[in-house]
């Protein structure tokens, strides 16, 4: 009987999740008006609640643990509050971003509950606190005027914190990236990346003159270098790419972009030669089965999980995802692929992509250049982090040890992702206001330019829709 519940739910979950994913992209369709879009958003949230319910039914059937029901009910209340809290308080908030947030959190809750109930409980508590703490961020972003005046403070705080971690931080998995304070382990780079985006945005908002670019580059390089010294490769890569993207968009100089990547490639090569832990990752990536007893153990376990799960997955509790080291954090995607299936995992990637596209879409439409850069930077942070973690656990690229936002276990990661999403919501609200003010003035010019530009950049077509 349990088999039957698990089997049927397996396909139902895939179906609901695939449908949700489809709607994520259907919403971008031009012909839809606000009415249709509202309906899509409602259907999406229905999927979230159904997936949550179905998965917890299976978890309960498999464990017969009464705590699971309590957990389910509390999570349900949380999701409902988050969902209706946002839509009621922030009437103009972006519902796709909100829905994706709920969906990714739900997937995280499900897989963590299945993997480790204790950690799932902890994660849930952190989620509640984070959601509450970040709930007013959109409001602050919308009103705050002083944000762009604190540029150097962001860099100062960031570098100081990173430096402290590098010097005194605990060693976790070969990288000095966290410190424990009063029983709570904090990974500062998760938050500093947000400050860093504000810093770079502020600098380029002031000017994109050569001297300004040099100053900014030096500070950015300092961030990256400290992270490299701390052996936080994933973090260093994210900071590096975010800087290059912001530099390129702000200066519009392809030369900077290409030159930056060339320099990054050279630096990566040097790092490969110097650092043993970099070589270990590359060796494990090249031929994991050949070094399965040592360097390749983790990635092989991950690939066994993904491969054996196949397209449809083994079903919840039918696999052995706990054989993957740090499965709740960096390798949570492999556990999802193993038990919920390759199709489900593929949809998960697509949902992350739709978040990323929406972030960039908002960035593109911001008229205030400062916030435009902020949205761009945060979008890049999010997109590149997702790429690094998913590419790493599937062996597409060497593993760099970063978390999957909203899904992986980890308080710092969770809270920082909440902050990023809340800021984006704030920017979206701001953009909506901008829109109302300038609506009349813009309409004419936009109409004229739209026709010309559609061929050039397809994204312009979508801009007007949101």
């Amino acid at each position: 009987m349990l088999n039957l519940i698990t089997e049927i739910s397996k396909y139902l979950l895939i179906f609901l999740f695939a449908f949700y994913t489809y709607e994520c992209f259907a919403v971008f369709r031009k012909k839809y008006g606000n009415y249709e879009r509202e309906k899509i958003y409602k259907r999406q949230m229905a999927c979230v609640y159904l997936i949550h319910l179905d998965a917890f039914l299976v978890i309960f059937a498999a464990t017969l643990d009464i705590q699971v029901i309590g957990m389910y009910l509390m999570q349900l209340i949380f999701l409902l509050s988050l969902h209706f809290g946002y839509t009621m308080v922030y009437k103009n908030s972006n519902e796709l971003v909100l829905n994706n947030m709920c969906m990714l959190l739900t997937v995280g809750f499900i897989i963590l509950t299945r993997l480790n109930f204790e950690r799932a409980t902890k994660q849930f508590v952190i989620a509640v606190i984070s959601a509450a703490a970040t709930f007013f961020i959109p409001f602050i972003i919308k009103r705050a005027k002083a944000l762009r005046k604190l540029t150097w403070l962001y860099a100062g705080v960031g570098i100081a914190l990173l430096g402290i971690v590098a010097v005194a931080g605990a060693v976790s998995y070969g990288a000095k990236i966290s410190f424990t304070f009063g029983g709570i382990t904090i990974q500062p780079s998760e938050f500093i990346k947000i400050l860093y985006v504000f810093f770079v945005a502020g600098m380029f908002y002031e000017s994109t003159e050569f001297t300004q670019v040099v100053k900014t580059t030096i500070m950015a390089a300092l961030h990256v270098l400290i992270l490299v010294v701390s052996k936080d490769l994933g973090g260093a890569l994210i900071f590096f790419v975010v800087y290059l993207v912001m530099l390129y968009v702000a200066t519009k100089k392809v030369l900077y972009f290409a030159g930056g990547f060339a320099a990054g490639g050279a630096a990566a090569f040097v790092a490969y030669k110097i650092f043993r832990h970099v070589r270990v990752r590359v060796v494990a990536w090249k031929n994991p089965l050949g070094v399965i007893d040592n360097e390749g153990y983790q990635i092989c376990q991950s690939l066994f999980a993904i491969g054996t799960g196949g397209w449809f997955g083994m079903g919840l509790y039918k696999g052995v995802p706990n054989t993957i080291p740090v499965v709740e954090q960096d390798f949570v995607f492999s556990a999802i692929a193993e038990e919920l299936g390759g199709i489900f995992a593929l949809c998960l990637i697509l949902i992350c992509v739709s978040c990323f596209l929406m972030f960039f879409n908002i960035a593109m439409q911001m008229k205030d250049v400062y916030y435009k850069y902020v949205a761009l930077g945060l979008g890049t942070v999010y997109g590149f982090q997702v790429f690094l973690t998913l590419g790493g656990v599937t062996k597409f690229i060497p593993s760099t040890g970063v978390t999957l936002p909203f899904v992986s276990y980890g308080g710092s990661s969770l809270l920082s992702t909440f902050i990023i999403f809340a800021i984006i919501q704030g920017l979206y609200l701001k953009k909506e206001d901008e829109g109302e003010i300038h609506e009349k003035r813009d309409k004419e010019s936009q109409k004229r330019s739209r026709k010309k530009k559609i061929a050039e950049t397809k994204f312009d077509g979508k801009i007007e829709e949101f």
Binding site: M1, N3, L4, E7, Y205, S207, T208, Y248, V249, K252, L289, I292, C300, L303, F304, A305, I306, G307, T308, G310, W311, M314, K318, G319, V320, T323, G342, A345, L346, I349, L350, V353, F356, L357, F360, A363, M364, K367, D368, V369, Y370, K372, L376, T380, G383, F387, L390, T394, K395, F396, D442, S445, R448, S449, K453, E456, T457, F459, D460, I463
Partner: protein, 480 residues
């Protein structure tokens, strides 16, 4: 800046950079998704089947392990469930298929190991599976149908008799492995009971080693195939080669004897090959360029990974520029440091028979559900061209001549045309004992060709001990 950006023109030019970055990211994600799909559809097989993958055994709880069959559906391994529900793995042909089919207790080996996942997957009709799941019954796993041929395997097994050694037979045009025998052997039916004895430290028999793919032997005179090919490559007018054999050849203190100290008299290259004349090959070996020789051998898969999905050892060829006269002479006749596996030799032979093109050897034809509906088919695939067509044809002529007038005459005058090369590989400095080798192939218009490699350990001359074994296999193949 901020004010400028309110105008349409500035905004749009700004968005060009946005578009570039967006497309870059979309490209990255599309590549990631493409890779993920590729991994799930193709690459995952290698990981699923890895013996390190503990997940396979999860399936044993809900699936009855499927059968392993030969190409005609004869059962080579099956799971028998008794009235109490206890499952036993039964191997009807016992020792005959020991290494190639393998065992499934005390760890796994052979096809039992490599196809473990398929054997434990059920593709029975889905309603039936659903019904079983509902009732808590086990489903019946898929059957693995191999390329092996029961008759050929039994013939090869019997042909080796009480000798240790190995036989491997394959179809050059497809790479299908038709038989693979290794002795000494073990009985997979009783391996669990005998495990401690087999794996005891003082047991030097190493019965678990599959000598057909992992046994490294000196090639003896079968290596003259490589020496000949290199000589032909360096000397396009090789037909002008002349040598007078008086039973031994001496250079700088190294003396090479012909087998039995036979005196072959005046010979050209073809005569030297068919007579397997050591003196002549020591002589022509000294004229070769060691670097080019090594290149040719590496082209022919020495010191290389073999296109073979199961466990094997790499053959080794160590001759380098500046090697001593002694080493060159020994290497040219297949003694010295050179080591080969029967698998490697049959691959080269099969490439020669197939006009230079090597097909990847494979063991599994398809998998099917227990009712016989095909689940997954494995098709022949080409590895590449090991030697040019003209070179292959020359080697075919040489190897046919061995059967017509040389050391392989026992294969002459059959319903099929055989070709090959014998070898007697000395492996001990103490006495003259040697492994008997034969590598070759046979052709008849109404059937596809087969190639084989036979090595009989410590038996003596290849022409006396290995050729008759090859003949039994060819006879069996062409008689039905």
């Amino acid at each position: 800046m901020p004010k400028q950006s309110l105008t349409g023109k500035s905004k749009n030019s700004k968005n060009r950079e946005f578009a570039v970055v967006t497309y870059l990211f979309v490209f990255l994600f599309v590549a990631l998704i493409g890779y993920f799909v590729y991994f799930e559809a193709v690459k995952s097989e290698e990981f699923i089947n890895s013996s390190y993958n503990k997940r396979q055994d999860l399936f044993a709880k809900t699936v009855v392990r499927g059968e392993i069959q030969d190409r005609n559906g004869n059962v080579l391994a099956e799971t028998v469930t008794d009235s109490t529900g206890k499952e036993t793995r039964n191997y009807p042909y016992g020792k005959t298929f020991a290494h190639v089919v393998g065992y499934a207790t005390n760890g796994k080996s052979g096809i039992e190991s490599s196809m473990n996942f398929r054997l434990l997957s059920s593709h029975a009709f889905f309603l039936e599976r659903l019904g079983n799941e509902f009732q808590g019954e086990k489903n019946i796993g898929d059957n693995v149908v191999t390329t092996l041929d029961l008759t050929l395997q039994q013939t090869a097994y019997d042909a080796l008799g009480s000798h240790d050694g190995a036989v491997i037979v394959l179809e050059p045009s497809t790479g299908k492995i038709l038989a693979m025998v290794s002795k000494p052997d073990f009985d997979p039916n009783t391996i669990a009971e005998n495990w401690d004895k087999i794996t005891a430290d003082d047991n030097k028999e190493s019965v678990l080693l599959n000598r057909a793919t992992q046994g490294l032997y000196p090639p003896g005179s079968t290596f003259k195939i490589f020496t000949t090919l290199e000589y032909i490559r360096e000397n396009p007018d090789y037909s002008g080669y002349q040598f007078t054999c008086d039973g031994e050849f001496e250079r700088e203190g190294t003396v090479i004897h012909c087998y039995n100290n036979d005196v072959h008299g005046g010979e050209n290259l073809l005569d030297s090959f068919t007579n397997s004349c050591n003196s002549s090959y020591a002589n022509l070996g000294l004229s070769l360029d060691e670097t080019k020789f090594a290149d040719t051998c590496e082209d022919l898969l020495f010191n290389q990974k073999l296109p073979y999905a199961y466990g094997y050892k790499q053959s080794s060829f160590t001759l380098k520029k500046g090697a001593s006269v002694h080493d060159i002479m020994e290497t040219s006749i297949g003694q010295g440091e050179t080591l080969v596996t029967p698998l490697h030799m049959v691959m080269v032979t099969s490439a020669i028979a197939n006009d230079g093109v090597l097909m990847k050897p494979y063991l599994i034809d398809h998998t099917e559900n227990y009712e016989g509906n095909v689940v997954k088919e494995y098709s022949p695939s080409e590895y590449g061209t090991l030697l040019e067509k003209e070179e292959a044809e020359t080697m075919q002529d040489f190897m046919e001549a061995v059967v017509q007038e040389g050391t392989g005459r026992k294969l002459k005058g059959q319903s099929y045309i055989a070709a090959g090369k014998t070898g007697s590989a000395e492996y001990s400095d103490a006495d003259d004992s040697s492994h008997a080798w034969f590598v070759g192939y046979a052709h008849r218009d109404d059937k596809s060709d087969i190639a084989l490699a036979v090595v009989v350990e410590g038996a003596g001359a290849g022409s006396t001990y290995a050729v008759p074994a090859a003949k039994q296999i060819f006879d069996a193949y062409y008689s039905n």
